[in-house]
Amino acid sequence: MAHAVEKHPVTGLPANPEKATLDGKNKYVAFWFFLGGETVLFASLFGTYVGLLNSGAPEELRSYNIFEMGLVFFMTMLLLTSSLTSVLAMMNMKANNPGRMKFWLIVTLVLGAGFLAAEIYEFIHYYHIGHTFTSSAFGSAFYTLVGFHGAHVTFGLFWIGTLLIRNWNRPIDVYNAPKFYVSSLYWHFIDVVWVFIFSIVYLLGMVS
């Protein structure tokens, strides 16, 4: 429904362009609800992982013997920073600075891609030492949880990438702002999940 939306005199956009229209508001609310569901989805994965931690794995392939702190720390920093750059992009979107928004989104993408590359490297490494999807219940649970997260990252990269390309030459308006905003929520959520992954899977795995 086309409301006459009040535009901010400075930015030329409504104060919250992502939910200025009914469509935008719908998307915004719906996406949050979706994230509520995703919370439970990842909880189920975490639960499974916790239930199967180290189960069926030989000593040398247990969590405390295979995880490496350096790489995980590096990945964490990449993803955390990408969360910040995503915030910066959204701030610039609201301020109607398409150029800077695009810049920060690209940085976000690059950081995300770096994360993904590191994860792939990590998985290949595990594969070589024998910790695989089918090697033990622990392996299955580990790859399912971390892999689901990785798949989310991948999807996020494609999504934000598509949005960027599609809107490269278009101004920010109440039609595409919700799309950007929602994708950024998604990206933050990926980071939220990662916080638990590095804490519970990796760090706790290293001490247990």
Partner: protein, 109 residues
């Protein structure tokens, strides 16, 4: 109150907007700094083997929870006006998530 001419009020507004966005910017940077700090704490604690195993679990999880709330409330602005239902649904989700993990931790053997 006296009415200011149009362009002056516009300038005023512009300044306000700038100030506002600067505040927001700083706020986000502070949140980010805190997240980094929490992350360092977590990794540091494990790296330096500061804690007995039983305490580490609780500690790490608490740090993670704080950090996640920073994400939700600062980065994602979950608490914005008009988000009552969103907050409600997220909390319900968190509730279900917690009992799910607890069950899979405690109710299997």
């Amino acid at each position: 109150m006296e009415k200011r001419p149009m362009n002056e009020s516009h300038k005023q507004l512009e300044l306000e907007v700038k100030a506002e966005s600067k505040r927001e910017y700083q706020l986000q940077l502070i949140s980010f700094a805190m997240m980094i700090l929490l992350t360092f704490l977590a990794f540091g604690a494990v790296y330096a083997e500061l804690m007995p195993v039983w305490a580490a679990g609780g500690f790490l999880i608490i740090l993670a929870i704080i950090q996640v709330f920073l994400q939700l409330y600062m980065f994602m602005h979950m608490n914005n006006r008009g988000n009552t239902w969103i907050v409600g649904m997220m909390w319900l989700g968190i509730f279900v998530a917690v009992i799910t993990v607890a069950a899979l931790r405690l109710l299997i053997w």
